[in-house]
Structure formats: structure tokens, C-alpha cells
Amino acid sequence: MALLLKGELRSKLQAELPAALDVRWANQATAPETAEHAGALPVLIEDDAVVHAAQIVPVAHFLRDTLGYDYLSNITVVDYLAFSIMELVYQFYNTTAGGADVRVRVRIGRTPEACIVPSLSPTWPGANLQEREAYDMYGVVFPGHPNLARVYMWDEFKGFPMRKDFPKTGDKYTHVTGE
């Protein structure tokens, strides 16, 4: 169970779990960075493997049980408001061999109907609080989670403060930028 090189997970998944790969952004890796693309779609071009939301559980188990990446360090959410995409970044480490992390990305929509990812918590308890935080701050729903309650905000609160379209509080800094 050697360490994966950068971008190697994608070819591994292509061989083992070809249905898991989300290929919507795969072919643009070689696309030239033209002026109209600058600052837009190239943001979404990745060396990391982008997988379908429904396949994140088998992919995570493949990383853990076959490739030895047994430590789920982090689940981060990125809100791409301009593309109407919510991206979850799963970050795995190999505690036996060490080395750099491997990231798996899941891209879903921002609407309540689309912002759903199956939970890793039943088979990977370390994901429990990470998924609760992603729900609390970004409104990502994890079916199968044993206790999908808020962590930071109070239970009565409605809304997800880290979303890019959450209203700004500001009067101290935001007037400088005109937002």
C-alpha cells in the first residue's frame, strides 16, 4: 500500500470504480487558459479526483481498506456561488506510510434538493462532527448521519452563515469595498 502520487487516485478509481468518477470537469484539465476562461472555469479544474456524491462511501472505503489512507483529517465545504456549486473536499492521510494527503472532491448543487451527500459516519465515526459542521455552516444534508444537529449555531437558528449569499453584517470593512 504505497503512497499515491499527485493525481494518481483518479487513474486508480478509473480502474477500480469507474462509475464513481465525476467526469464533468475531467476533460478541461488540458483546456487552454484563454482570456474568457481566466478566473472562471479553471478554478474547477483539479488534479484531485472528483467523484459523484452517491459514490463517496465506496470511494472512501476504497481509500481506507485498499490504499491504506485510514485517517479522515477534514471535510471542508467550498461555496462556488458563481457556478451554483457546493464542493466538499475530503482530506485523507495514510498514518502508516505518512506522506502527503489525498483529497477527494464532491460537487453538488446549492439548492436544498441538490445539497445532499450520503453520510460517512455510520462506517467512519471520525466524520461525525465534520459532517455536522458542514451541515451547520453550509446546509449540506447527510442522510444516514446518526445525529445531524447543529454544532456552532443554536438549534433554533435558521440559515447557514458561511454560505456566500448569507447577508453581510458589515459596516466596518464592507463600505471600503463597496459591497
Binding site: 437558528f157 453584517t169 459596516d171
Partner: protein, 251 residues
């Protein structure tokens, strides 16, 4: 004023005159016990002020009480989040009069660098009246000691005839504990969400007791739009007898 000078001269020779008021204030100013209560990195500076290098016990404040029932001053040391502020107000309500609040650092005073965030209260004086503000991020222990000396000066200026917590007209008030709502913090007496998450608070801050506040809000600040400056202590409004003598005010 020559009586004052005579009194100071006699005190230097070991003859003590005093008034009940002065004796009472001397007793209170010499044992201002803080509540053992810290919220963020300012609390580390507060701990340093209590340790041997800065030694807050030189000012009679070394006993950090674990219970608000035994504390005289609440040092709000650190960032007050919207989730924490109901507990802060409840702790303050549980303190017996006379009670004081020191707002330590930029966060407790105004929200500091988190002022425009969704989760931090824009100044703890929106919820409890503050006697002394300390600038700094975090303030050094010397600044905390100076705020304690400022509070002691304020205690020296108090008179039993007109303090709010003494006598028959005891108008000490309980401050409203904010409730968690769907959009933010709700406060009794304010319609809707008084302190919304992702919006500006609709209630003005409390008038500092050092400026004569008795639990009322500052009606001259209707909305906290813009960076309205906090009311500052007028220079020379607090001083001690010894400062008067040193400044030559006592002829």
C-alpha cells in the same frame, strides 16, 4: 479645600480623620474581587496579571471567585459570541450589587476584528453596562491593572447618598437575558430580532455607570450604523484626593 489639605497633613502624622463615605469606599475599593471567567486570549493576559510578575493582588483583586455571588467585578476578557452572551448576562444578573463590568480588549468593547462577522456581539455594552473599557488586542497586563485603578477611582467618587444600590430606593435592575431566535438574538422589549445574525443590532448600548447610567440605554444612539464612537470619560472626571493634592488643586 484647605480642610482637605489639613486632613492630608494630619494623616501623614498619624492622625486619621474620615467620613463614613470615605471609609466605606476605601473598604470596597481595596477588595474588588473579579469573577473567574475568561472567554478568549484576553483571559491569558488576565491570568498573567494575576500571576507573580504583575501581581494583581497589589490592588486587592487577587481572589478570582468561581461564583458570581461572591464577585464584585466581571472582567469580560475576550470575544463574546452570540451563543455565549446569554450566559454572560445571566452571570452578571447573579452578581450582587454593587457590581462592575470591565470590558477587556477590542472584541468585548466593539467586536474587534470580528465586528463584521455573523457570530460576534458588537460590544458587550449592548447587553450589560460597562464601567471601564480597555483598548488593545489583547491588552497588556499593565492595561488591566490600569483599568482596575480607574475602577477604584470611580469607586472613590461614589457617594452613599446617590448610588443606585443603596438605601430605600433600590432600583437595581436585572438585565434582559437574550433568547435564541430563528434569525438571531431576541431581547424582551425590542420587536423582532434585536441582534440578528447577518445584520446590525437595533438596540443602543447601555449608558456606562461611570457616566451616571442606572441601567438605561443610550437613547441618543438609535442605531449602530457606522462607527459611532463610544462615549468616553471626560478628562478629570475621576480623580483622587492625592491627585488633587499633587495637582495643586488643594491650596
Amino acid at each position: 479645600m484647605s480642610d482637605l489639605k489639613t486632613q492630608v497633613e494630619l494623616e501623614e502624622q498619624g492622625v486619621l480623620f474620615s467620613t463614613i463615605n470615605k471609609l466605606y469606599n476605601w473598604g470596597r475599593r481595596s477588595s474588588v474581587w473579579p469573577m473567574q471567567f475568561g472567554l478568549a486570549c484576553c483571559a491569558i493576559e488576565m491570568i498573567a496579571a494575576a500571576a507573580s510578575r504583575y501581581d494583581i493582588s497589589r490592588f486587592g483583586s487577587e481572589l478570582f471567585r468561581a461564583s458570581p455571588r461572591q464577585a464584585d467585578v466581571m472582567i469580560v476578557a475576550g470575544t463574546v459570541t452570540k451563543k455565549m452572551v446569554p450566559q454572560v448576562v445571566r452571570l452578571f444578573n447573579q452578581m450582587p450589587e454593587p457590581r462592575y463590568v470591565i470590558s477587556m480588549g477590542a472584541c468585548a468593547t466593539s467586536g474587534g476584528p470580528f465586528r463584521d462577522g455573523y457570530n460576534v456581539v458588537r460590544g458587550v455594552d449592548l447587553y450589560v453596562p460597562v464601567d471601564v473599557y480597555i483598548p488593545g488586542c489583547p491588552p497588556r497586563p499593565e492595561a488591566l491593572l490600569h483599568s482596575l485603578m480607574t475602577l477604584q477611582s470611580q469607586i472613590d467618587m461614589q457617594s452613599l447618598r446617590n448610588v443606585r444600590w443603596y438605601g430605600d430606593e433600590n432600583d437595581a435592575v436585572d438585565f434582559p437575558v437574550p433568547q435564541f431566535g430563528a434569525e438571531g438574538l431576541e431581547i424582551a422589549g425590542f420587536p423582532g430580532t434585536a441582534d440578528p445574525v447577518g445584520g446590525l443590532p437595533t438596540m443602543p448600548p447601555f449608558v456606562s455607570p461611570a457616566l451616571g447610567g442606572r441601567g438605561e440605554r443610550n437613547a441618543s444612539i438609535s442605531y449602530l450604523e457606522g462607527n459611532l464612537p463610544k462615549p468616553m470619560l471626560k478628562s478629570g472626571s475621576t480623580h483622587t484626593v492625592h491627585e488633587e493634592v499633587a495637582n495643586g488643586a488643594v491650596a
